[in-house]
Symmetry: D2
Subunit: 367 residues, 4 copies
């Protein structure tokens, strides 16, 4: 079974190569009667698109999305929503030098070994360009979630060893405003400046750097997640790990929590005020990250995603060709010195897809 | 869609509650003609079963597995393999006190909110007892993998802040021998002693502690993993995150890799010796953790799993009942002060299930 | 992907061989809070069990079902429901003569060719004994449907060339009473007598005969069915065709409808009475069989299922062994001269599973 | 779970409405290294396209297919193959009169009741135009099957009560030549003439007529089909029943077989000649239709598909609008008086999709 679909009830299938005609996605299972705000979908894509700033790749793609089906008079019809994003600025000749070369820490060798035939141009299917289709689908998922009051916010919480402080306790819209005011997409302006300086220096050295994105989900209803395998955080984890360059995921207390004791880690309940419903129990702390037993508990969901440094560097590296002969490769395409600023949109999109799917899945568990 | 199945081609479905009649699993998709070594399956279950040592729960379950179908004259027939593990030592009265109480950081509240009707005895379906079924199925997966020469090894690499050193470069069988020689299942004897002492002290305090398990896969063929969503590490991550108490997963360079630069992180190829096949390219370093572009590259696969401390502590904690009234709960059942020693078998089992599934999935990708 | 699961949201997985320890089924996705009437489930199994009358096989199986999980205090919990039916009266020695022989028009040869290793005893997994697990699961589905007022009724409408007249326009409970008053399970007593006489004569000749089952679904809500592939009748068709010995399926006007003209075949709407809701439009005729565009339209759903004659006859037939040598086989086990009387329960069960699944699937299509 | 995907390993997802921008399909799971013959794919579409002859709808669509991804240098890469067919000749104004009217025996009412919002133009998603996407995908499946020597042939075996004789025992290529020499696509020229005359007369009356398509599969290897639910004929049945206007399916002896006795119905083996392999056992008769126990046995697979008459007639019929008010509708669009001539391509395509899927599924059942 090939792996280009994601989700069970709100299900997407993506297609397309970096230098092919187009990339795109079909959403099957989006409920009918949802108003589709095309401007919103495009604005989400704009956050991921290349060429946004000096610290992103200079490839120029407008990433203009076309909706081919599933929408009538501005609203979804319950039939499959197909979305197409034509490729515009392919410079396939930039990749002629790697036609037969396996770039270190890329997918060239493994794709060739697996499939025996590979579109090498721009990384083909293994290019992060594929994630534009996810962002388009994720924007639709966000519209469904917004209909239920659910909000998602991600930002760059680390670049290299520069870490942002905890998020300020302000609204999502305020956080968004801060985040979008700087090109690295960090919700703390001072940290953002340090991050930008670091990335810019690394770019000038022809090198790349890793980073982390932190994400929260607000107003998630109690009850999302399907034990025992499709726990909410398990599906979030898979979603994040499926993004190019991601090497780690944790939620709530995460890796740090494994060093703690139960007596300090347990999230004690806040006794509800008079008349409060049992469905809305809150906790004093939130080491659980909003998920207990794989099911959302109504507290903020929080998780982190770790990205390795981009493999394509503008320095010469020894490599091999498919026959095993030694050669040197040096990045010639247009690449990001650090992926996390553009990946914020991808992380949010994948989170939205997971939550939309589980929102639907939860509708059928009770008689 | 309920979430009690895992895998696509090598697919398991588990059932059962902690204090019900039995737990069990159906494997659908195990290839025919595989010799099933029942002793091996039982020995895997023995590594997970309760009551093994002073640092595990004292519940007594023999966890004796019965095979009901799918095997004839010692070999699989290609039909579903049903395995049953009767529950023996349920002390449901230990749980009478929590019939209406929601234990902090447990799944009591979320299950009730989601389903509206819950078997509270011993945690019901949310109990880690369910993982015995995974270990039984994972043992079958291991037999399939062994048939292809693939080996999996996990061990306790951290308890609290006590961390084990890197694995010695010795064979899996030697590592296993060391690991099984100590009750905490750490591959480094000196560290094991410290870990055991820590857990024992914490147990005496009525508290619990988190930990980490590290796992490697040796001899994995090149080519396993299905881009773009079912990347090998994404499925491994989901598998691990679906285990009770897991809060984090990373692979290869993991979270640390997000602080690195591309020039140091890239795994350079070792030029193959004369006559070596292109399918067997090796790399000098292995920050990729044996997976590139979501596809195994033939190097050792390595990943880490972070476990939070067990929520049930033998100390009185404030809690709420389902009506929102305050009460106190204190662990009365038999619980583990630290889950990682028993969870090694679960981590290995889930890894085996992922690899067996991808081994089959890879069989159909080329004409 | 192995094929032992059926349904998407109300999903079953069956296991077990004819002469193994037990057969059984897991239901994953049954909503919580459904009252499970065990007596009803057992009574459904009793309609399918062997040894009911002189015109069925004389194998004695009580087919007593055990529920292992998913039910607490008489109600479903939303977790997997595992049901087990132990095998009691295996006479495996009756099958020693076919260990290496391929019985004509059986699955012996194809299973061997496909899997290379086969439990030959009693037909192993290819035995219709597997359908007992379907009937158990179907009974649970029926309870869910009954909760929504949906009723299913099947009966033997043909044995050989003896055809029953159209169903009388009486209630399902009245139809059931008539059907259960005769051992062939035909809703027309006079036809039933002819059918019984025919089957009994054929049995005495050591031969077998085919037949048809007709089924209706009453009170199905408008809107079930998922275009374009999972049309309600497409899933019903697959469900029926998956039953042993079924060679044909049609619904509504069926095969006869292919000889008609549009002007006579179209089902004209009955103008609704004052105040009637648009969701309840009825039609004058029902050539559509209650399904239009793959979606139920609120009229009675009707379909037919054609069963070939049982392959095992009590006459000597030339055969081959696995090495290709000629031999003779003659039925020695205990077999049905005609399967349709016992298959009524199976047809109803499979219909219930399809409808329960689509009832849940329909819950998520609108915002 | 929405229903716009078909197949497990060779899996398609279709999208698009009759009068939208385009229709299309993604194939996920087509093996790599398959040479894609675009001319062949287009020629398959040409057999289904409208406007072919006087007995088909006069809508003009070139149905020119574009491949957007998954193919590089003429061969598949193992990544998703997206195919797009732009809509060209939408006369949506032809449908203005039915914006609020529910046409009898159409899907207007059921779509509205299910989704609450509907693209009424040309029937929207319920239009048979969607099947063009299936034919495109089926053509790729046929190329995969051809690579394994498997051939599929369907033809119009009945229009109304005019039935074609059994297929002549000639090669598939000869049958194809005869079939394509007449506009009704019947493999018997004399019968074809009668059928054409009947359809033409019915067309002049503004009426429509049903018919049947018979299909055979030659050179199918032994072993395809996945018991117990995904029997080969069960998946074929679902595939056919998912085609617009299909009301019935049978295989092998089919409905007629239900009137037969076991002693005449059993397919006796032909003793293999010296040295013939056991995998290639043949039978004297083929009432089993090439499938036993749900698994192909190497004989020709044969099945029939019954189509009801097209619901759109050029005569005035009483109808209702969505508010329940009476009105009259009369077909104004361009419609087929009989669908079977164009549906031959669809039946073959769906058969090819089922076989391609099972060809892949069979690859993983043995160690």
């Amino acid at each position: 079974m090939a792996g280009n679909s994601f989700g069970q009830l709100f299900r997407i299938t993506t297609f397309g190569e970096s230098h092919g005609t187009a990339i795109g996605v079909i959403i099957d299972g989006c409920p009918s009667n949802l108003t589709l705000d095309l401007d919103f979908i495009q604005s989400e894509l704009d956050k991921r698109k290349p060429g946004q700033s000096k610290i992103t790749t200079q490839r120029k793609e407008s990433d203009t999305v076309q909706i081919l089906s599933g929408v009538f008079e501005g609203k979804t019809t319950g039939t499959p929503i197909a979305m197409l994003i034509p490729n515009e600025d392919q410079r396939s000749k930039d990749y002629a030098h790697i036609k037969d070369a396996y770039r270190p820490s890329h997918a060239d060798y493994t794709y060739d070994a697996k499939y025996g035939h590979r579109d090498h141009r721009g990384g083909g299917r293994s290019s992060a360009r594929e994630t534009a289709a996810r962002v388009a689908a994720g924007a639709v998922a966000k519209l469904l979630l917004a209909h239920h009051g659910i909000e998602i916010f991600g930002h760059v919480s680390a670049v290299g060893t520069i870490n942002a402080p905890q998020l300020a306790q302000i609204s999502i819209s305020e956080l968004l405003e801060i985040r979008e005011s700087n090109i690295v997409r960090c919700a703390d302006p001072a940290t953002a400046n340090q991050m930008i300086e670091l990335i810019d220096n690394i770019r000038l050295e022809g090198d790349t750097i890793g980073g982390k994105i932190s994400c929260i989900v607000k107003n998630c209803p109690v009850g999302l997640g399907e034990p025992v395998f499709d726990k909410l955080h398990a599906d979030l984890g898979k979603a994040m790990l499926s993004i190019n360059a991601v090497h780690g995921f944790d939620y709530g207390s995460g890796f740090d929590g494994s060093e703690m004791r139960g007596s300090e880690h347990n999230d004690l309940f806040i006794p509800p005020a008079e008349g409060q419903k049992a469905q809305n129990f809150k906790t004093l702390t939130n080491f659980s990250g909003g998920i207990q037993g794989g099911i959302s508990n109504g507290m903020d969901i929080s998780f982190r995603v770790a990205f390795k440094p981009v493999a394509t560097i503008m320095q010469s590296q020894p490599s091999l060709d498919s026959a095993g002969n030694s050669s040197n490769v040096q990045g010639k395409g247009r690449h990001d010195p650090c992926v996390v600023p553009r990946a914020v949109a991808i992380v949010e999109a994948m989170a939205a897809l997971v939550l939309a799917d589980h929102l639907l899945r939860d509708k059928v568990v009770r008689v």
